[in-house]
């Protein structure tokens, strides 16, 4: 089995379904658009903000604020890449063509993650420069400390959250189930747990919460709730979640009858 052939095949698979274009385009548009709107808003309201908020203002993170919503589309992308194989029965045809589970999984994840990374990086850079342009006098340059790391980090975040979604879907073997778990998890459970003091410490170790730390350049010291890890530490936690999901997915794929 030649691995480049598998990659080519997976690339064809991914580029020939409409959902790829829709989800990734939605991710980019929502992220850039929402971030831009927020930056306009912040720029106009900056003077009215309380002093401590002005001090803790993170222009870099603000220009990615839309990603909190845009990641929904990336998650849907990741879930669908794997989930449609199962829902359509294509998985049997695919595995008959590429019987080695490792090659199949690696090919699929590599192609989809690379694509998510590419889209994520383009999105993060566009979002950053648009946002900074709109922030006017409150903006920050890409050369400032930690800024480039945050911009790259935003792209990486999108790739890894997609990978996490794919791994989880591989375990669950159903798009519906995966979305049913992931979306409430990211959009409801983690913000709610994060907003309650008692449960906040748990929420810190959720992949999306931990991972988003890499997009920030200003530590959130002022509200007294600093997570127990740095930007790369947080990203590492997120990557560990994704790796765990992928390994579990591989185990399921190997062990269970297709």
């Amino acid at each position: 089995m030649s691995f480049p052939a598998v990659l080519r095949s997976e690339w064809t698979k991914i580029r020939t379904v409409a959902s790829t274009v829709w989800t990734l385009a939605a991710a980019a548009v929502v992220t850039v658009g929402m971030s831009a709107l927020l930056c306009v808003f912040l720029n106009s309201q900056f003077e009215n903000m309380p002093k401590e908020q002005q001090l803790a203002f993170d222009p870099t993170a603000s220009s990615f604020a839309g990603m909190s919503l845009g990641q929904a589309a990336v998650i849907v992308f990741g879930v669908l890449v794997v989930g449609t194989e199962y829902s359509t029965g294509m998985i049997r045809t695919s595995l008959a063509a590429v019987p080695r589970r490792g090659s199949f999984l690696a090919g699929k994840l590599l192609v989809a993650t690379a694509l998510a990374l590419a889209v994520g990086l383009v999105t993060s850079f566009v979002s950053f420069f648009t946002g900074q342009a709109l922030l006017g006098e409150h903006s920050i340059g890409i050369g400032e400390p930690n800024v480039l790391r945050a911009v790259f980090g935003a792209g990486l975040y999108m790739a890894v959250i997609a990978l996490f979604a794919m791994g989880l879907t591989m375990v669950l073997r159903s798009s519906m189930l995966a979305l049913g778990i992931l979306l409430p998890f990211v959009f409801l459970l983690s913000p709610i747990l994060g907003s309650v003091d008692a449960t906040q410490k748990v929420a810190y170790f959720f992949p999306n919460v931990a991972g988003s730390r890499i997009m920030q350049t200003v530590p959130a010291v002022l509200d007294g709730s600093e997570p127990p890890y740095g930007p790369w530490g947080g990203f590492g936690i997120m990557a560990a979640w994704a790796a765990l999901a992928v390994v579990a997915g591989y185990a399921v794929l190997r062990k269970r009858d297709a």
Binding site: K13, T88, P99, D257
Partner: protein, 334 residues
């Protein structure tokens, strides 16, 4: 060539496939028969390494499926017509399969043409009817121009024209020396297509023999006679010690166990005119029913109808005239 060796698959306590060994040879169409729940699909899925056998092995051209570097070039399979991504066009569905096995993209157009889907190649397969989906699945099986082909219920959903086409396609493929393995529940189709049969019931091998042999072993054959001098004919047969059964309506006689040649000679010697002298062989359906009678899983209660009508010729007593042929052939079963 497909070889199965002591293949076994258990789902919990239930043994779906039980120590199955057989070979599927090239150059002939091999039919794979068995009642529902006999383990046919599981066997076919294990052949493609989609299900892991509990024990035993399957070898494709002497290798394990997972060791085939480009499996589509060795074996093409149609398992489930709908096993394609509906949001992708027919062409692209095939293209991504082709690429994974380094099959040139031009081959995709060829197989689409072969199955008659060229006109809808760019359409999403979501909107395909079952018959079109079946053709697409067949195209996928043919993609790598493999020496071994496997079809699970290929005529499902096809219209009569398509059924005729796939029948001739399979014969043509076998004629080119390929291995063709096809499962179907449609005995009349199988009788027209397959040369060799493998029959399983409750996961066990029941028969592995040629079609003719199978029918011969599992059903009776007889000769139908019709004559304007029927009384003389009856007397003659009686005198010769040949048992003949008269059919109630049609005025024909049925003779068991004597070749038509002998009967022809006999009639000629005694100057009896025959208007019909036709050797009859019971159908594959009847033969199959007899063999698998004990391994049927979801037995229905026929609402009132007597258990008749096996085979091509008979109907229950209340059947319309066209069915009132030779009931005698068909009271098979229990």
């Amino acid at each position: 060539m497909i070889e199965l060796e002591a293949l076994t698959k258990r789902f919990g306590a239930k043994t779906a496939v039980d120590n199955l060994s057989f070979q599927v040879k090239p150059g002939v169409v091999t039919g794979f028969l068995g009642p529902n729940g006999a383990g046919k699909s599981t066997t076919m899925r294990m052949m493609l390494d989609l299900d892991n056998p509990t024990s035993g092995t399957v070898r494709i051209d002497g290798k394990h499926y997972r060791d085939l570097s480009e499996p589509l070039k060795h074996i093409g399979a149609l398992l489930d017509a709908k096993a394609m991504h509906g949001g992708r066009s027919a062409y692209n569905n095939l293209l991504c399969l082709a690429q994974s096995n380094r099959i040139p993209a031009s081959r995709v157009g060829e197989v689409l043409d072969l199955v008659g889907l060229t006109a809808v190649a760019k359409k999403k397969s979501k909107g395909f009817s079952l018959g079109m989906g079946q053709r697409l699945g067949i195209a996928a099986a043919l993609l790598g121009d493999p020496e071994i082909l496997m079809f699970d219920e290929p005529v499902n959903g096809l219209d009569p024209e398509g059924i005729l086409w796939i029948r001739n396609l399979m014969k043509g493929l076998a004629g080119e020396g390929r291995t063709v393995f096809v499962s179907s529940h449609l005995m009349s189709e199988m009788a027209l297509t397959a040369d060799h049969l493998i029959v399983i019931g409750q996961g066990k091998l029941l028969a592995d023999m040629s079609m003719a042999e199978f029918i011969h072993q599992n059903s009776r054959s007889f000769v139908r006679l019709r004559s304007p001098q029927q009384e003389q004919l009856k007397d003659l047969l009686h005198a010769e010690g040949i048992a003949a059964a008269a059919l109630p309506d049609s005025g024909a006689l049925e003779v068991d166990g004597v070749a038509s040649e002998q009967l022809g000679e006999l009639a000629a010697r005694h100057g009896i005119v025959l208007h019909e002298l036709s050797p009859q062989r019971a159908s594959l359906e009847e033969a199959f029913m007899r063999m698998t009678a004990d391994s049927v899983e979801y037995q229905a209660h026929a609402p009132g109808a007597p258990a008749a009508g096996v085979g091509g010729q008979a109907g229950p007593a209340d059947a319309p005239a066209w069915g009132a042929g030779a009931e005698a052939t068909s009271k098979g079963g229990r």
